[in-house]
């Protein structure tokens, strides 16, 4: 009978040892997963920044191209120059989103006004820059969506049980979404 007790004890030891292994694995898996999600957000934010920098570079070329044609639109061009600087200087998703949206709106106005300048419209350089900036605007919109999806997944995970326990120990906090601030969705008033 003593052997039976020893035998059952050993079987129980293996069983609970494996259960403990599952628990340890699960905790490590949740920890690694939260670290990966946090890093994904940082990476997707950096990926938006890359495109914003590229758009600023293309804007410099665009402004150089149009200023010879649009001499009467000095106010518009100055607004774009100012907004371009405010995008570069903004920090944090909310501020960056607000500045970026204002710049996108101003660019839309610039392209609309450019319709009144047939010589400019027919310029190959202008057409190329317009196309490139539109592509970048689309890509920025996609990456904003990607960033927000990543933030949303992270925010849900750190609030769900049992992940919330490990997230609490890791002192993880909700992340901010890249969404337009109030007022930035309104039409931009430009001085002509």
């Amino acid at each position: 009978m003593a052997f039976w007790g020893l035998g059952l004890g050993l079987v129980a030891l293996v069983f609970f040892g494996l259960i403990a292994l599952v628990i340890v694995f699960f905790v490590l898996s949740v920890y690694n997963s939260l670290v990966a999600l946090k890093n994904n957000i940082e990476k997707s934010w950096a990926n938006i920044d890359v495109l914003l920098v590229q758009r600023n570079a293309e804007l410099t070329k665009l402004l150089d191209t149009v200023k010879g044609y649009m001499k009467h639109e000095r106010g518009t061009l100055e607004d774009i120059t100012r907004l371009r600087a405010s995008v570069a200087n903004a920090s944090g998703p909310q501020a960056k989103a607000a500045a970026s949206d204002l710049l996108s709106g101003a660019l839309g106005k610039l392209f609309a006004v450019a319709e009144n300048y047939p010589q400019l419209r027919s310029s190959e350089n202008f057409q190329q820059l317009q196309g490139r900036i539109s592509e970048l605007e689309n890509a920025i919109a996609d990456r904003r969506e990607f960033y927000n999806d990543s933030v949303n997944t992270f925010n849900i995970r750190i609030q769900q049980i049992p992940d919330s326990v490990i997230a609490g120990l890791m002192r993880l906090e909700k992340k901010e979404m890249f969404k337009p601030a109030l007022g930035t969705t309104e039409d931009v008033k430009l001085s002509f």
Binding site: F3, W4, L6, G7, L8, L10, V11, V14, F15, L18, I19, L21, V22, F25, S29, N32, S33, A36, L37, N40, K43, S44, N47, V50, L51, R132, E135, N138, A139, I140, D142, R143, E145, F146, D149, S150, T153
Partner: protein
Amino acid sequence: MDLLFLLFRTAYSSSSVDEFVMYAVAGVFIGIYAFYYGFTQWNKFKKVADTTTSKVRSMAAGLVELNGKTIAIKALTSPVSKQGCVYYKVEHQTYIRSEKGGHWITTSIDQEYENFYLQDDTGKVEVDPRKADIDIPQKKVQYYGSRRDIEYFLSPDGDCYVLGTAKIRPGVRTVDNAASLIVTQGEGDNTFYITDKKEQDVQKNLYQRAQIGIIAGLMLTTISFGYLIFKFLI
């Protein structure tokens, strides 16, 4: 407890004790493997669940998850069903008879790959499927007496889910984001998974495999180990 006692007593009193020991030893190893398999499937499930789907036109270099359609660059023809495809695998199997029945064993595998495009509503990107874990259901089974061929293939224009690494193509300089990238296996993160299933089904399958692997591994290891303990201790 009584059931456990009865199980071990039955096994012990069996005339083929050595055979049971052999099964039990195999059970321990298979159980450990099933356990390991369950963990790997769980890790894969977490990766699929945690990775946000990118759009082709704006995806960045690094680990990407893409959903779309398969577009052939150079179409292959599947050898059994003669269908156009971008990837096929054929398992050649032979039926082996034994005293207790019989079973099929795989004698050889033929497979061929071609790079293809994955297209979503924003653009298309090239995928190099070599080294990918390609998870597709069998499409056709052809019997030739005691032999059979099981065919799997990835159809052009079919649904495609890819979780892999987007790399900058060497020597390609273009402003078109998708044209400057190729999806393949990464060096740091070597996850590279291709399937014709929807993402929800991928997650569901991986989750089920993980559960089955871990639970079956736990049970099989414990029971097999328990049998061996009782066999040699009592």
